[in-house]
């Protein structure tokens, strides 16, 4: 047992202090932060805070009712008696645009918009919509008017999983999707390191010394634990960065204030994470032991990675219809279950039977792969010149 921890410690240190690992770990959160900061900068720097005007030829709007409508942008909505005056204000850059409600507006609900170069943003447009709505329902009782202006907020209650979905908590829908991406990156990078350390051990010819010092189980177990710890370190840094980001951004972004900790999601992902990691690690151990060079290992692993990243390639199908038979199949298939269930989580309810069967299949496959990888490892670890091809590997697994 002591040897297992010694190997784990050695691998952990050897991995987390590598330049590639540090870059990978810091680059993703820093990159995302940079993209978000850039987006905010571009949006805010291009923001037009000039008032928006309107010409009401239908006589349905009253400027005093502006206070009845929610206007998140805070843009002033200014009335003009006719189009000429409004146009002069537009050309004089007093306003950014103006709407014209023609006299037949109550029948057609059509408006005209005038602007010089850039149309008003969606938010400004939304403010004006709210203003029009407030005017149209001004004669209704207060309660009814408020309800009509706020519009519907449908909350779906799933009676099986007891989960709730509200369109106003859209961040809670997106979060599992983003989290699954981070889980995925951490898992794949850990498995990549697994492949590399096994192939490097073989390339360095240290395998023979190692297996005369420790058992093959301790060797592989130690490497797996060490690299899992490295993966969790990476994941923790992502999570801390995300939490800090949320705390910093929440006061400025209303949607982020709705975020709640998705405990159920974290629980299910916890169940899938370890066996999924063990499955990938076992595949990588077998590949690393079977080939003779790190470069060959990476080529073979690149092909095998396709088995694990399939849900990413099927993102559109999963988003459009989380219950699609393909999405269900990917939820049950051992190499894709983890990522698919994670992606589907925020989009709707993943039936319990699918989670259960997916998990059982994953566990069974993982146990088999760990056993098979141990056999391939023992047969392939000392084959320096000649790789163990697929046929030979199958023969080894079958015990021929």
């Amino acid at each position: 047992m002591n040897n297992l921890w010694l190997i784990a410690k050695h691998e952990y240190r050897g991995t987390v202090f590598k330049r590639a690992f540090i870059l990978m770990t810091l680059a993703i959160p820093l990159g995302l932060a940079a993209v978000i900061a850039l987006t905010i900068f571009v949006v805010t720097s291009g923001e037009n805070n000039l008032p928006v005007g309107y010409v009401d030829q239908a006589g349905v709007l009253n400027a005093t009712r502006q206070s009845l409508a929610p206007t998140p942008t805070g843009i002033e909505i200014r009335a003009f008696p006719d189009e000429e005056t409004a146009l002069a204000a537009l050309e004089g850059e007093e306003i950014q645009a103006f709407f014209v409600l023609p006299s037949n507006y109550p029948n057609t609900l059509q408006t005209d918009l005038y602007y010089l170069q850039e149309p008003p943003s969606n938010d400004v447009w939304g403010d004006f919509d709210n203003f029009v709505r407030a005017n149209l329902v001004a004669s209704y009782p207060d309660e009814m008017r408020k309800r009509l202006i706020e519009g519907p907020n449908i909350t779906v209650h799933d009676i099986v999983s007891k989960r709730e979905f509200s369109e106003r908590s859209i961040v809670n829908v997106i979060l599992p999707f983003v989290a699954s991406f981070f889980f995925f990156v951490a898992t794949m990078s850990a498995s990549g390191y697994m492949l590399q350390v096994v192939a490097t051990e073989k390339e360095n010819r240290t395998m023979e010394i190692m297996v005369t010092s420790v058992t093959p189980g301790q060797l592989i177990g130690g490497k797996t634990v060490g690299l899992l710890a490295a993966a969790l370190t990476q994941l923790s840094i992502y999570v801390i960065a995300a939490v800090v980001g949320l705390i910093v951004a929440a006061p400025h972004v209303e949607a982020l204030q709705q975020v709640t900790v998705p405990w159920a999601y974290l629980g299910v992902m916890g169940l899938f994470f370890i066996p999924s990691y063990a499955l990938i690690a076992a595949v990588m151990v077998a590949v690393g032991a079977a080939v003779t060079k790190v470069q060959e290992a990476q080529q073979v692993a690149g092909l095998l990675n396709m088995l694990f990243i399939l849900p990413i390639l099927m993102t559109v199908v999963i988003i459009q219809n989380p219950g699609h038979p393909l999405a269900v199949f990917l939820s049950l298939f051992p190499t894709t279950a983890f990522l698919t269930i994670s992606m589907r989580w925020g989009l709707g309810t993943v039936p319990l039977w699918q989670i259960g069967i997916g998990w059982v299949l994953l566990i069974v496959t993982t146990i088999f792969m760990v056993w098979a990888a141990a056999r391939v490892f023992r047969a392939g670890m000392l084959r320096y010149g000649q790789p163990l091809n697929l046929k030979a590997a199958v023969a080894v697994i079958r015990g021929d």
Binding site: L6, G14, R205, E208, I209, T212, S213, V214, L382, Y384
Partner: protein, 318 residues
């Protein structure tokens, strides 16, 4: 109790019979040579001995029983395929390997200081392994083998890549280990090193033990298979002679198995242009014995079978 006892080992890889029937024992306080031509099965035998490969048949006993983790820690192994972590620094690499053998880091550090000084590697301790020369890496490998003070040292070609000065140093260290009561199993092609160091040897050919016993006894058994001649004339092209070498003014003739030295003498005496001043039986070198046995498939000058000689030598040893 034997340190190592290998009995009738065999191993097949696909269609290749790597080891067919190998038996030997290594005692405490001896240097034991595991010899054989390329592809004879030496490395496979060592790997089976150390539980890297599982034998198809036969048994291995190390320190009186099956190899387990505690016994693995008493073994220092220098494999034929040398290997250290190339992108790691020398000192942490050696400490890591020693701790895997059960040594605590503090003791490993203090012992390492001595070994690095002795092998003239102290100033390179913070260099990456890949920055060291081949000879330095070889010395580092020897340190990795000895740092945890093993009771059994298994060294596959320990003198490969070493210059004469370091070869002498390694020989001296092996002698010290023997005097300390350690068992050393050494596989090498350098027969003069075997003659200089080994107490006993086993010779494997085509996966079988063909010669086994004390070096002195084997050499005595093969005396008569070579003759030394001084004189004038042509001493080549003699029936029954494998090789005729002239060194200074002396001819060394290696005889084929079954060749009677008297017949060689008579052949030479019958030549008109030959004058013989000295003719005597020579105790053959291990190199000659190796070539003779491997090329001619015979294990002693009287053409007794390898198995017979082996049995006789085993009986003497016991």
């Amino acid at each position: 109790m034997h340190t190592v006892e290998v009995s009738h080992l065999s191993k097949r890889f696909g269609d290749t019979q790597a080891v067919a029937d190998v038996s030997f024992a290594v005692e405490p306080g001896e240097i034991f040579g595991l010899l054989g031509p390329n592809g004879a099965g030496k490395t496979t035998t060592i790997r089976m001995m150390l539980d890297i490969f599982r034998p198809d048949a036969g048994t291995v006993s190390i320190f009186g029983g099956q190899l387990d983790l505690a016994k693995k820690r008493r073994i220092g192994y220098m494999p034929e395929d040398r290997g250290l972590y190339k992108d790691l620094k020398l000192e942490p690499t050696l400490i890591y390997l020693a701790t895997l053998k059960g040594l605590d880091a503090k003791t490993a550090h203090s012992r390492l200081d001595e070994w690095l000084e002795r092998f003239d590697l102290a100033e390179h301790r913070q260099k990456k392994v890949q920055e060291l020369s081949g000879g330095m890496q070889q010395k580092a490998q020897i340190i990795a083998t000895l740092l945890h003070d093993p009771d059994l040292i298994v060294a596959d070609e320990p003198f490969a890549a070493l210059d004469p000065v370091n070869t002498r140093l390694v020989k001296q260290i092996l002698e010290e280990q023997r005097q300390a009561g350690k068992s050393i199993l050494m596989s090498t092609h350098q027969m003069y090193q075997v003659e200089a160091l080994c107490d006993r040897i086993v010779l494997i050919d085509e996966g079988r033990t063909v010669l086994y016993g004390a070096v002195d006894e084997i050499k005595r058994s093969f005396a008569g298979n070579a003759v030394v001649i001084e004189g004038q004339g042509d001493f080549t092209d003699i029936p029954g002679v494998l090789e005729a070498r002239k060194h200074n003014d002396t001819w060394h003739l290696a005889l084929q198995v079954g060749t009677d030295p008297q017949a060689v003498f008579r052949t030479l005496a019958a030549r008109e242009n030959v004058k013989i001043e000295r003719f005597e039986l020579e105790e053959p070198s291990l190199d000659d014995i190796f070539v003779n046995v491997v090329q001619n498939g015979a294990a002693n000058p009287s053409a007794v079978s390898g198995a017979t000689l082996r049995t006789r030598l085993e009986a003497r040893h016991e």
